[in-house]
Symmetry: C2
Subunit: 228 residues, 2 copies
């Protein structure tokens, strides 16, 4: 029951958003929760570390069961509450295999686009220490990776989702990355199938209900993804 | 059926080993396979990219179903062949939640110990470019991370596994990292519960059958993990 659940989360965190979309899709909208501030390091506060000794969010409990890693929360919710809300892992074996493949293939997006480009080379590197040649390579790597997903979406066809005809766990995992890149300036006109997908999924009830609140209030200070 | 399966794999690859332990545990020992050479870049050969356009291994098919990412292969095998061989995701809700939590918590081992320390700072950094202070920090981070797992194992108790009383998917995911660190010189006497675990699991049939063949033939050229 949602009333036995509790989630600590941070706004704009891709892992938190994944867990929150899954909670909405499984019909737990309105679950008790607390937004914590990364700026004030509230993720290291006692009440968070009591649930997650690593001091990371999402930190989640369902009654006396504690699950913290975002992937584990999503996996747990679908396994325990499979018959409730949206079925996020299809029953059909072929469709299921494709969803599983895309769910974990998202590591490539995480490593190439989010980490190597956005985090390590933009957020964590000062302007003086940024080499134009390396930067171009990372933009190119990011573009190559996103074009792979553009290809998947083109193959799925208009009206479908990233890995199956219906909304699945692969969308729960993929959409928050895509939306983050759009916020950082990604020009979706270069990715027409992803553009159609983005504009459709952003209006989905579970996604709207969990949209990072500070994104609604203030634009991003960064738009470097426009070079991808 | 194992005879419809095919796996391309590389020796000493943690992701490949995970998939191979899962295949053995599910009772598919003897599945058709081909060892590819990373040195000869055989992972970029046509016959691999036909299955996995990314040119990465493991690349796996089961009849006409293709699944490539190691996590996806393990997840697929357990979902499709749940009633066969070892049950890798426990049915009991509490035990299941703990297994899921540890399965994905392994990202911390991957990021902190394997990537930040071993890959980025040892294999990919030349001796001249290595800063002693940073190196000490990374050893310390690696030690802190492995002590978390030492704590989990101590709590599970002697004879148990990393996340449950019986061997689970969390062991399939965790053991190859631990064995790789031991090969790179990790001194297990600093981690007594993990030491007992390592010595027991290394003799498990699925693990022995899939042990990286080149590890048996030649010792590692590196032992930097002894500083952790």
């Amino acid at each position: 029951m949602a009333s036995n659940m509790f989630l600590y989360w941070g706004t704009g965190s891709v892992p938190c958003w994944k867990a929150m979309i899954a909670l909405e899709e499984k019909g737990f909208g309105g679950y008790p929760n607390q937004l914590i501030s990364f700026d004030n390091e509230e993720n290291k506060a006692d009440y968070v570390t009591k649930l997650n000794p690593r001091g990371q969010v999402p930190a989640f409990k369902d009654g006396d069961i504690v699950v913290n890693e975002s992937w584990a929360i999503c996996d747990y919710l679908e396994r325990r509450y499979g018959n409730q809300g949206t079925q996020l892992i299809p029953s059909d074996i072929k469709e299921q295999a494709n969803v599983l493949q895309r769910m974990y293939e998202i590591f490539n997006v995480e490593n190439t686009v989010l980490k190597e480009l956005a985090y390590y080379y933009m957020f964590d590197t000062t302007d003086e220490n940024r080499d134009e040649t390396v930067l171009k390579e990372r933009y190119e790597m990011g573009r190559t990776e996103l074009l792979i997903w553009e290809g998947y979406m083109q193959k799925m066809g208009s009206g479908a989702f990233i890995a199956s005809k219906t909304f699945s766990m692969a969308d729960v995992y993929f959409f928050p990355y895509l939306a983050f890149f759009v916020r950082l300036g990604l020009n979706l006109s270069k990715f027409p199938a992803l553009s159609e997908y983005y504009n459709r999924v952003k209006d989905r009830a579970s996604v709207k209900a969990s949209w990072p609140p500070h994104w609604l209030k203030e634009p991003s200070k960064n738009n470097f993804m426009s070079h991808v």
